[in-house]
């Protein structure tokens, strides 16, 4: 059965002001323009992954990191405000499936895997996410000519 994470978060952080979850009753829509096997697919992760050669994220920032698609996952680091990363430490593909997507690209399941993958750490301000971070990510995806995006939230 699915877990009531909103309730558990409320209990876990009972001493803090309650986080206001975004609630929407409808969603925007762009049709998939062609089959996935013809699409340039981008990987977007909020798991806080970055490379040693890049600056780590900072508290409350709205930046992102471009992870070249041929990156060896062992080179990744994590900067994040909280998740159990013992399994990501063993094998980042459980939450950042770059190796698997490269294989699916080679197998022709995807048209192409977009270079680079995009990573960031979510900010608690909805306004900053929507007004500051989202436009940067959209610009990066458009520059990379992504047809579709696969998003893995953390």
């Amino acid at each position: 059965m699915p877990i009531a994470y909103i309730q558990r978060t409320r209990e876990r952080y009972a001493d803090y002001p309650p986080y206001k979850w975004a609630v929407n009753t409808e969603a925007p829509w762009t049709p998939l323009p062609k089959p996935i096997k013809e699409c340039r697919l981008a990987l977007v992760s909020s798991g806080g992954f970055y490379l040693k050669s890049q600056p780590p994220f900072e508290k409350d920032d709205t930046s992102y990191r471009a992870i070249p698609k041929d990156t060896d996952l062992k080179e990744l680091r994590i900067y994040h405000h909280g998740y159990r990363d013992a399994d990501a430490d063993l094998d980042p593909n459980c939450v950042f499936p770059l190796d698997r997507l490269r294989e699916l690209e080679a197998a022709g399941v995807l048209g192409a895997l977009v270079d680079p993958a995009i990573t960031f750490v979510i900010n608690y301000s909805h306004r900053k996410e929507i007004q500051e971070r989202a436009p940067k990510i959209v610009a990066e995806l458009k520059a990379a000519k992504a047809d579709a995006a696969l998003l893995v939230p953390v």
């Binding site: 950042f96 579709a148 939230p153």
Partner: protein, 119 residues
């Protein structure tokens, strides 16, 4: 991330979100989502199980082509452990340690190398 998904979609790029938190994802309502009932941060599979990771991604990508209305969420038929669902009582519950392998956090953040377990 659901908010970002909605903005990317609004900008003309279709998105699929892979979730392991059904209630959070349903609330924010990204345009398309698949739900995998695995512990948080394992929605693309178990560590060191490339066959499972690949199958979950194949199902997710097939779902991407099937969704036909905004806000749909499909549950993928994966079970973390068919013999033991006790993780569901514990995940993110009281006393749940967020950092499994770790160094001290600063202001709730931590900077961590991967591959620590092998080091």
């Amino acid at each position: 991330m659901g908010l970002i998904a909605r903005e990317i979609e609004r900008a003309g790029i279709p998105t699929l979100s892979m979730s392991s938190a059904w209630d959070v994802t349903f609330a924010v309502r990204p345009p398309r989502a698949v739900f995998v009932n695995f512990p948080l941060n394992h929605q693309t599979g178990k560590a060191n199980d490339p066959r499972l990771q690949r199958q979950i991604l194949l199902d997710a990508l097939r779902a991407f082509e099937l969704f036909w209305a905004p806000g749909m969420m499909l549950t993928l038929p994966y079970v973390w452990d068919p013999r033991d669902a006790s993780w569901e009582e514990k995940d993110f519950g009281p006393g749940f340690e967020l950092y499994g392998v770790g160094e001290a956090m600063q202001e709730g953040f931590a900077e961590r190398k991967l591959g620590r377990a092998q080091a």
